[in-house]
Symmetry: C2
Subunit: 136 residues, 2 copies
DNA sequence: CGGAATCCTGTATGATACTG
DNA sequence: CAGTATCATACAGGATTCCG
């Protein structure tokens, strides 16, 4: 395709930003990455400090080792998570947030809070909706 | 208080919240819904006022009519978006944010801002990562 | 215009097994 | 412990067609 710069420049707008609604906008790629089923959950967990692979796996109920592995690699690639290997006898791998990751974790917090505090309203809305469409 | 939801109670923790890391936690369902590729994009768009179906479709480059339709229905079901039909000659359908939806839009803003202002860092991290792994 | 129904395919995901 | 590799599949998602 194009080079990285060629992609960026035409999309940059006056305020130095990007159009999230443009197809190939990097910001949308970022958003899509964050839309990952586990990514934000992991980031939020790591806010509490470094964790090892299987610790994460135990904490996040329902994640497969494959999904966890993939998500961690993507997060590492995006510079959000740091991966450190310790040459202990059974090898130990520790994941932690980078500086960038920490800023993300903070930006995510309002959304997490929102989910937390509006679950009941959402569930109620769903029931209402289902009741109506079921009636038809 | 313990009536309707057998699902909710066992998951409620001391502070009256939910454990996002539990498999069947409603909060996680909410989060997963938000993790939808288009949901947040739509919510953000509707902050600017009501829009019709094809307006949304045009604004969000790359969304298929099916994906848009499905996402809108889900958002409506969750009580985040309001759908109003006008009996004009070619029927007009208008989508707008509900009160609940507006609170979500606000909670989302920090994350959108984050994506906006950290794209370059993420892209840089990706390049670095790819350069290294490619070297192997 | 705003969608629902159908078909069809890529990919994401999960279970299983193997390695360092 | 911390993964990768393989396979098998379910399902989201796109393209197309048709309808109120």
């Amino acid at each position: 395709m194009k080079t990285a710069d060629a992609v960026l420049d035409p999309l940059a707008d006056e305020d130095g930003g990007f159009d999230v609604y443009a197809k190939d906008c990097p910001a949308r790629m970022v958003l899509n990455r964050l839309a990952d089923k586990w990514a934000l959950l992991i980031v939020k967990l790591l806010k509490g400090g470094p964790l090892r692979f299987n610790q994460l796996r135990r904490e996040i109920e329902g994640v497969s080792q494959k999904a966890l592995s993939q998500t961690l690699r993507r997060l590492e690639r995006d510079g959000l998570v740091d991966r450190r290997v310790f040459a202990t006898v059974p090898v130990t791998v520790e994941y932690s947030l980078t500086e960038l990751g920490r800023t993300l974790a903070e930006a995510f917090e309002p959304l997490a809070d929102w989910a937390h505090s509006h679950i009941r309203e959402v569930l109620a809305a769903q029931s209402r909706y289902d009741a109506v469409s079921e009636a038809a």
